[in-house]
Structures are given as C-alpha cells and as structure tokens.
C-alpha cells in the first residue's frame, strides 16, 4: 500500500514537473520573442540616430551656414569692422 501511494505521489510530481517545464519553456520563448523585438527596436533606433547625426552634420555644414548667413544679410569679418579690446576694457563678467 505505501508503495502505491509513493508511486501515485511521484506520478503527480512528474506530471506537475512536466507541466511546469512546458510552461516555463513557453514563457522563455515569449520572453525571447520580446527580447528580439526590443533588440530590433534598438537597432532601428541606432540607425535612426545615425541618420539624424548625418542630418545634423548636413545642417551644420559650413557651406549651409554661409548660405543662410548671407540670406540674413550677414557678411564675412573684415579688418575694417574689427575692433580689438585691450584686456582692461573687457566688461567684467556678472
């Protein structure tokens, strides 16, 4: 009789363990899929970041700035319009 009981208990454990294995496997796969998606997103974001850096570079190109500055009526520095202040004449920083 006790042997039968032991077998029954072990069988129940076996079943429970099998079920938990299946469940954990299922969860692991779900998590892996999430991880994949997140990594994909990270890659995409990085690529987008790269692209934005390039766009920033393009926008900050000296050539682009020069064109924009000329449009605003600015012009390059020339000595006639340059005044050098001696160190003492510099306004004190607040």
């Amino acid at each position: 009789m006790p042997i039968r009981l032991i077998v029954a208990v072990l069988a129940a454990f076996l079943m429970a363990s099998a079920m938990s294995l299946v469940t954990s496997r299922h969860r692991a796969r779900g998590l892996f899929a999430d991880l994949e998606a997140a990594q994909q997103l990270a890659r995409q974001s990085e690529a987008e970041g790269n692209r934005l850096r390039i766009d920033l570079g393009r926008a900050a190109q000296p050539a682009a700035i020069e064109v924009a500055a000329r449009r605003l009526g600015m012009r390059p520095i020339d000595p006639e319009h340059t005044t050098l202040l001696p160190p003492a004449a510099r306004p004190a920083s607040p």
């Binding site: 892996f32 899929a33 790269n50 850096r53 000296p62 050539a63 000595p79 006639e80």
Partner: protein, 598 residues
C-alpha cells in the same frame, strides 16, 4: 436447452420461438451453402498476426534506429530544415568623424531589392509601380526580369522606406535583403580624402581603404530556431559579429570647407586644370585640411571620373620651383657659407653654367641673402648653393622628407624624386637648389615647411587625430630656422614676391613658387603656381600649402595665383582656431583698407 434444429415439434410461429425458428432456418441455409462450410485453417490467422507483429517490430526498430541514438542526424536535419535558420548578421561599418566629432562618413541601413525571375508573377501595373519606386526605367526592369538566371538584383542600397513599400505590395518573386549605404554629408569637400566604399560597404579608396581593417567589422553568423508562426524562439551565435570601429580624423571640417571653397574659386577664376591645398597643425603635424579640385560627389557614382578621384595633394608630384629655395638657403646658413646679411651679385639677372643659362625674372643687382629669398632670385640661390657640398643640400632635403613617402595614413602617397647627390652635376645642384630636377607632392612640401615654422625640427604628419605629441626630429639649428622665418616674412612684404599672401591682423611668412611643367621631357609653357607659408609668422600655428595647376587666366605667378588663396585660407583658419589677431597688425590692415577705400 440444446436441440437439434431439425428435431422439433410443431410450434406456433411468433414470439421468441419464431425468432429461434428463423435462426434455425439460417443455419439450415448455411449448412446448405458449401462456401460457408469451408473451415479456415488456424495457421492463416496466426500468419496474419505474425505479419502484423513483424510490421510493428520493424516500425519499433526504425523508431529506435532514428531516435535511439543509432542515426539521430536524419530527423534532426529534417527538423532543422523546417525550423532552424542560419542568418548572416552584417557588422556595421565604423563612422569617420572629423577632429571635433562631426560625422564625415557613416553607414545607414538600406535594402537590396532582388528577384527570382521565374517566380515573378506581376502585372504590368505592378511592374510600372515597382519601376517608379526603384527609380529604374520600366524597360530596364523588364529586361532584368526576363533574365534566365535564378537571382537578379533589381536595385541595391534602396532607402528602407521605399523597400518597405515594395514589400507591402507582396509581389511574388520579389524580395529584399539587408545591406548598408555609406553617406558622406560633406560630399565633394572631403571626397578624395575619404575615398568611397563599394556596394558591399568595403573601402575602395582614400581613408576608407587605408583604415579598412579598423572601419570594416566582421559579419557574424547566427543560428535561429523559429516557431510555426515564423517568430524566433531560440538563438545561438555561431560567430558573433565584430562591429567596425569609429575613427576620428585630424581634419577640421570648418577649415576643410574654407580651403575647399577658396581653392574652387581660385581654380575657376584662373581657368586652371586643378589645384590642391594642405593645412597642417604646426604643433602636432596633424592634417587639418586636405582638399583638391576638381572633386566629385561620392553620392553620384555614375558621374565619377577617374581623374577626379585622385587625391592629388598626396598622389601627384610636381617640380616645386622656388618653394624649395628656403631649404637651400637654410643649408647654406647652417653650413656657415653665408649669413642673412651677406651679399650676392645677381646682375645681370642671368648666369651661364655648364652650357645652360639660369635666369631671373628681372635683374635685381646686389642682393642680401634675405633679399635673394624675398625676391626669389634663381641666380642668387644658385650662386649660394654652388658653394655647398651636394651632400649637405641632399641631407637637408632628405631630412625634411623629400624623396620619401610621408607615413600619413593616406593611400597612394608618392615618394617624389630626389636623386642621390653623387650623380649631381653642378648645373643640377644649382637647379635643384631652386626647385627644378626634384619632384615633390604638396603634402611633402607642406610638411617640409614645418621645419621653419617649428624652430628647426620636424614631426611626422598624420591624418588621424593625435592624442599625444609626436616625437620631433631636429634638422636645423633654431637660429637658422628663425633666420629663414624672417626672410619668409620679408617675402610677404611689399618688397617680396607675395604681398597678396598677407592676412589682416596676423603676420604671415611664406614662399611663392612658379614652376614650368615638364611635358615629354621638355619644359612647356604650362606652369604650376604654388605658395607655402605659415601663420602667424612669429608663433606659427598652421602651415598652409597651395598649389594651382596650369593657371590660364592671364596670371601664372605663384604670388598672383596661389598667394591670395593662402591669404584667404589663413584668415579663415586662424579665425576658426580662435587665434587672437595681433592688434598692431590689425590696425595696420584697417588703415590700409581705409586708404584703399578712399
């Protein structure tokens, strides 16, 4: 109650008795049918049973064979074929930035659109739409799809957005794959310096090629298991990808732009063949700008012309002419043959030597050594150089890097030509002293001037941003370098050949060069105008070398063609580097400008 069917008393038919009666009738029928009377031998059923048993044994054996460890590969292979995929994982190519972190070259994801022509079942409208999205003529697209190969690329390096739209059509036989596209935000400005990559994102020229080992990573291999919905559920790296590393150049993109735009304007204004500019940092030997014109747009592969791809400042040599004179004078000063104030008779502006005539542009009469350089007298330089042993001149020219390729990390760097002194005849020694009979690249020339800008020592040039100062190699005594520096400053005065090299607010020093070009072994009427100088003269921060090839705009002297470009580039560079102008020089320039305006 066992009774023979035949032995029966008369009974009423009906009820249970009737049913029995009918069954008895059937038995009677069976008994009457000879076929049904055949008795099957017992062995037949046993045989059948045995056959079934054997079948099951065979199945069990097969199952054991496949799964029990004897030959498990077969099923595993079949399973893998259904659920496992091995994918190439591309490594991203490193980014190239300038010294301040501005992106000069970077890879962004793109898609390659490809087709299996036999599988393509697309209507005319679909194809037209595809052609429009790919920006390929419909005829060309149809021609490619008519190909009998099993795989054709329709277009590579397509924008991901466009590829997504193509994927959304769900056309049979049209597929996309992951790849990268290299972008160069500065375009033509850095084109020859950076070079370019092929469609596989491998370096082909310039920095891209020279630093391929750092920039190009190694693609990885990844083993994936997918579920029946196609989602990845397990993975395993066969080989992890190694991402390309970024590199930081010594280039300053602002100075690069200043040099590029000044050069382009000068080449166009002088109707020249081309030109180059090199800007070096005096302290570290770093290349701050290196640009050539004509240039190309790296984004438009179809318009690339081979002659525009060359990084001329590094790969092309020319006879430097007068820009080499300071080295001859410095050697003479170093050897104690002359002093800065020693005099040389240059009248009548020409001299005969070994059957050849050396001439000046005009007769200058008696000149001090300082003036020989300032006025760029060939006769004076030749006379001074002839007092030197050939070996001494060769030693100086070699020590400043002529005749050797500069190890700057640039592809195609040439050595130039400097023959050994044993083979120099006197006329050659004289011509070499004023820059003929030797050939140099502009980068070599710019580097050599570091020796005057830096009190007599020289550092290697580099296109990579240097973190630690380079080791300097002494070539001249500091006093000699300072003396030549003063002479070079004099050359940019009203008295010298290059007043147009001056920069308002900063004293500058430098030397012009105007050299005839060799064509088929003869000196032609084509010139190379050059100017190499540094600024500010007394405490030099940058060396700037300008070369304009074959100016045809009426001027061809270095002082008229190249010196103004130097002035423009120096002004912009010093401002970009935030070097304070010197008050007296600025005041002087302002007065001059005001006088001119009046």
């Amino acid at each position: 109650m066992k009774q023979s069917p035949e032995s029966g008393r008369p009974r009423t038919l009906g009820g249970a008795a009737g049913r029995r009666k009918r069954r008895s009738g059937d038995s009677a029928l069976a008994a009457g049918n000879p076929l049904l009377q055949v008795r099957l031998p017992a062995w037949r059923s046993r045989l059948l049973l045995f056959g079934l048993f054997c079948g099951f044994v065979a199945l069990a054996g097969r199952a054991f064979y496949l799964q029990g460890g004897v030959s498990t590969q077969f099923l595993q292979r079949q399973g893998e074929a259904r659920y496992a995929r091995t994918l190439d994982v591309a490594a991203t190519r490193g980014t190239i930035t300038d010294r301040n972190g501005v992106v000069l070259a970077s890879s962004v994801p793109a898609r390659g659109v490809w087709a299996i022509p036999d599988d393509v079942e697309a209507g005319k409208r679909d194809l037209a739409q595809l052609a429009r999205l790919l920006d390929v003529p419909s005829g060309e697209l149809r021609r490619r799809l008519a190909d009998d190969r099993t795989f054709v690329y329709l277009k590579r390096q397509v924008e991901p957005g466009v590829a997504q739209r193509i994927e959304s059509f769900n056309l049979a036989g049209i597929h996309t794959s992951r790849e990268f596209r290299r972008l160069y935000p500065e375009g033509a400005i850095t084109a020859q310096l950076l070079g370019f990559t092929d469609v596989e994102d491998r370096g082909q020229d310039g920095i891209e090629l020279a630093f391929e080992r750092i920039l190009g990573g190694r693609p990885g291999l990844r083993h994936l298991i997918k579920d029946r919905l196609g989602r990845a559920v397990e993975d395993d790296w066969v080989r992890e990808p190694i991402e390309g590393r970024d590199i930081r150049l010594s280039i300053d993109n602002r100075i690069q732009y200043i040099a590029f735009s000044a050069l382009r304007a000068a080449v166009e204004a002088n109707q020249a063949q081309g030109g180059s500019i090199v800007v070096l940092d005096v302290e570290s030997g770093e290349i701050l700008a290196l640009t050539n014109w004509p240039s190309f747009d790296p984004a438009r592969r179809d318009r690339m012309e081979p002659q525009k791809l060359r990084n001329r400042a590094v790969t092309d040599t020319f006879e430097p002419g007068s820009t080499l004179k300071p080295f001859s004078i410095a050697t003479a000063l170093e050897a104690g043959v002359v002093m800065p104030q020693s005099t040389v008779q240059t009248a009548p502006g020409s001299m005969r030597l070994g059957g050849h005539t050396i001439t000046d542009t005009s007769s200058h009469g008696v000149l001090t050594v300082e003036q020989v350089l300032a006025k760029s007298s060939n006769v004076g330089t030749a006379k001074i150089a002839l007092q030197l042993p050939a070996q001494a001149l060769w030693d100086t020219l070699t020590a400043v890097g002529f005749g050797q390729a500069p190890h700057a990390g640039l592809t195609g760097a040439v050595t130039g030509r400097l023959r050994p002194p044993q083979s120099w005849r006197p006329i050659e020694q004289a011509t070499i002293a004023y820059g003929y009979g030797v050939s140099v690249s502009l980068l070599q020339l710019a580097r050599a001037y570091l020796v005057f800008a830096r009190d007599g020592d020289i550092v290697p040039v580099s296109v990579m941003r240097a973190d630690s100062p380079a080791a300097a190699v002494p070539v001249l005594r500091p006093q000699t370098a300072q003396a030549v520096r003063r002479m070079l400053e004099l050359a940019t005065s009203d008295e010298g050949t290059a007043p147009s090299a001056r920069v308002s607010g900063y004293p500058v020093a430098g030397k012009t060069g105007t050299a005839r070009k060799l064509r088929d072994g003869r000196y032609s009427d084509a010139y190379v105008a050059s100017f190499v100088g540094f600024a500010p003269a007394s405490d030099a921060r940058v060396v700037i070398a300008v070369m304009i090839d074959e100016p045809h705009g009426g001027h061809y002297f270095g002082g008229d063609v190249a010196a103004p470009v130097f002035s423009q580039v120096a002004a912009g560079t010093l401002r970009a580097l935030q070097i304070a102008p010197q008050a007296h020089a600025l005041a002087l320039a302002a007065t001059e400008a005001a006088t001119e305006a009046r």
